[in-house]
Every structure is written in C-alpha cells, then in structure tokens.
Symmetry: C2
C-alpha cells in the first residue's frame, strides 16, 4: 500500500533557522555565559535584518538560556553552582516521573530505540568526540521523556536539557580532559530493560551516570569569575 508517514516539513522561516544557530552557538560554548549579543553585529553576520533575529532571541529568553534587560541588551545566562544544582535536582524528579509513565508503555520499539541511542553514545565515546558524546548521552536519557506520552513533561525536560547541555559543554571545554572510556550508561539501560521499576527509579534518583558531582565541583570554581567575550 502507498502508506508513507511523512514528518512535518521544515520551518522555512529565517526566525527558526536563527533560533537553531543561536542555540547551537550557546550550547557548544561558542557564546560564553554573560556574553552580550549585539543585535546589529549578529544580524549583519547572518545577513538578516534585526526583526527575525530579535524574535528568535525572545524565544531563547523564554527557553531560559538567554536573559534580557530592556534597553541594555540580551545576554547568555550566567552559570552558578546553585543553578546547576537546581536544574539537576529537578531533573532527577522528572526522570523518576518519566520512568513511571514510560514503564507500561515499553515495547520492542522502545528497547530497539534504547539500544540505538546507547550505541550512539558508545560510538561517540570511541571517537573521542566529547561534544557529540554529551549530545548523544542526553538523547539517550531523553528517550524516557519522549516515550512517557506527556507533552508537557517533554517540553519541560527539553528546557532543562538546554541548560544541561550548556553546563556540560562548559565543563568539557574548560577541562578538556580525556573522556571516560568505560560505558557509564550500562546500568541505566539494563535497569530500563528489566522488570523492577523501583530499581530504575532509585538509580535515577541516587546514582547519576551523567557526572554531575564533578560538574558541580567545577562550577563552584568559576563562581563570580568575569566572563570574557569572544
């Protein structure tokens, strides 16, 4: 049968592309915390007028990775240890909820997708591609939120993810250390495949395979440090 399920076509507005560009620049650390976004300069660089750029910036402000002060400018959010702790602690709660909601909905497609994403992380790890490693790890952890069949939860988690990705990128960028070779997501995946939901939730609450403790310790270091623009 001619049954092909098409995905929605791409948003063909400049605004959407600008949002994607800016978000990527921030989440990869090209735009550092506290840095000011000069509208005229950016609009000229992108060959775009200020109108769609400003609209894009409003979106990112609401997304929580930019902050705006009227007549002063729009800046990349500052990162404090408390911010990271706030995001992290809430993230754990959402994880527990997502696991609970996803649990009964797990099927073969879920397990397949879980393996696929897990494999993507392992591949990025082998290639020593730290940026992609962060990205894939977050995608792996995002599966339960996508599967939970709760659009508001997914929305909320994606908002947190933006920040998480930014934090990890900063951390990685500053340390630039060798990535862990072992597979730290092994337990997480195994528990999600198992039959003990409580165990999976406990794992999400207590043991984190996204290495937050180190991230926190690091963040306490650059507290109050002046952020120099690029």
């Amino acid at each position: 049968m001619g049954k092909a399920d098409f995905s929605p076509i791409a948003d063909t507005t400049r605004r959407a592309e600008i949002v994607a560009l800016l978000r990527r620049a921030i989440l990869t650390g090209q735009l550092g915390p506290g840095q000011k976004l000069n509208e005229l300069r950016i609009s000229e660089q992108m060959r775009v007028s200020r109108a769609p750029l400003r609209e894009a910036m409003r979106e990112l402000v609401q997304e929580g990775i930019l902050t705006s002060i009227p007549y002063a400018g729009t800046f990349v959010i500052e990162v404090t240890a408390k911010d990271i702790d706030d995001v992290y602690s809430l993230n754990k709660v959402l994880d527990e909820f997502a696991i609970e909601r996803t649990w009964k909905l797990r099927d073969q497609r879920f397990f397949d997708e879980l393996d696929r994403r897990h494999e993507a992380v392992k591949q990025a790890t082998r290639h020593r591609d730290t940026t992609r490693q962060i990205e894939t790890a977050l995608q792996l952890h995002g599966l339960i939120h996508e599967w939970a069949d709760n659009s508001v939860l997914l929305d909320t988690w994606q908002r947190l993810t933006s920040r998480l990705q930014m934090y990890f990128a900063l951390h990685q960028q500053a340390r630039n250390q060798a990535v862990p070779a072992e597979d730290i997501h092994e337990t997480y995946v195994r528990l999600l495949k198992g039959t003990d939901m409580r165990a999976a939730q406990r794992h999400a609450r207590e043991h984190t395979d996204l290495d937050f403790e180190e991230l926190l310790a690091y963040a306490r270091g650059f507290e109050q440090r002046p952020s120099n623009g690029a």
Copy 2:
C-alpha cells in the same frame, strides 16, 4: 539609617505590556482556545506596531499558551482532556518536590504568608468572585514553589500555572455555577503547618483541592468541538 531596598523598576517597554495584556486576555478566556490572533487587527487596537506585538507573541508561544504555524498564524492553544491530564499529573509531581524542598525552610514568615494567601482565597470565595478565586487559589498553591529556593522549579511551575488558570477559567466560564462555599484548602494549609512532611506530600499527590476531576470530566465534553471566535 537611609536603608531602603528598592525593587527593580518596571519594564517600560511596549512589548512587556503587550505580553501582560495578551496573557490576561487568554487566561481569562476572552480569547478562546483555537482562536487566531490577527496581528494587524490587534496592533491597531492596541495602537502599536506589529514588531513589539510579534515579539510578545513569540514569548507566549514559548510559554505554551499560544501556538504558531509559519505563514498561517498564531493561535490560542487547543484544550484537550489529555492536555489537562498531562499538566495535572506533572503538577502533582512538582508539588511533592516543592514540599520536600520547602519543608526545612519554613519559618514564621512562611506561615504568615500562607495564612495571608489563604485568607485571600476565602475572601474571594465570600465575594463570589470566581475569577479572583481561581487566581488566589493558584497563588496559595504557588507559595511552596516560591519558597523552595529553586528558580528552575518556580519557572516550570509558573508555566504550568498559566495553563491551569486557563483551564479553570474555561471551565468556570462554561459552567458558571455557584462556587463552593466551604473552605476546600483547609486541609492543605493545615498539613503545611504541621510536622508530617509525608502526609503533606501524600495530600498533594492523592487529594486535590483544586477540583481537577470535575475539570477533566468537563474537558472531555468539548473535545473536538469547534471553537468560535469572539
């Protein structure tokens, strides 16, 4: 001493005022679900150009009460029973978390504020002011999120609150029934003042004094019903 701590002055940009106006119009039900927002018409009514209006609309899109389709328009979100259920279930999780975080931070100022907001609800109830009753009830429940000392949690909760307020307004508007005279928040306040945190959390999870069950039943009624604009 001349020590007066000033709060930041109000945002004096048109954009901010437009956001407030539009939000109020949506949350009070003046703009119904599915309704299209004609930029030219609204900008003329507000005596404002389309630029700040469009920026304001981007904010509300990210806030989750508007939805935008490129080259087609921006619309007030549709309300389905599932949406309400999604918001409601996530809200309960956030409540539990907020109670946990707030618990150790409770002090006299907290209890005073709790009483103050509780009193505001009772007053609105006495005056049969249903709109204000919704508003004050949500403010009462918001205290634990404000007190939890987690800016991300507060952000998230406020986003959900926008929707909750909209749902309740629709419900109230359609039914237009007499408001309950009894004080349904009595237990909630009492538990928050007590010493048993688990009991307070259980109450948040199991018994809801914001009457969601009825709201849900109602929402299932206008599923798929065409929304006529004003």
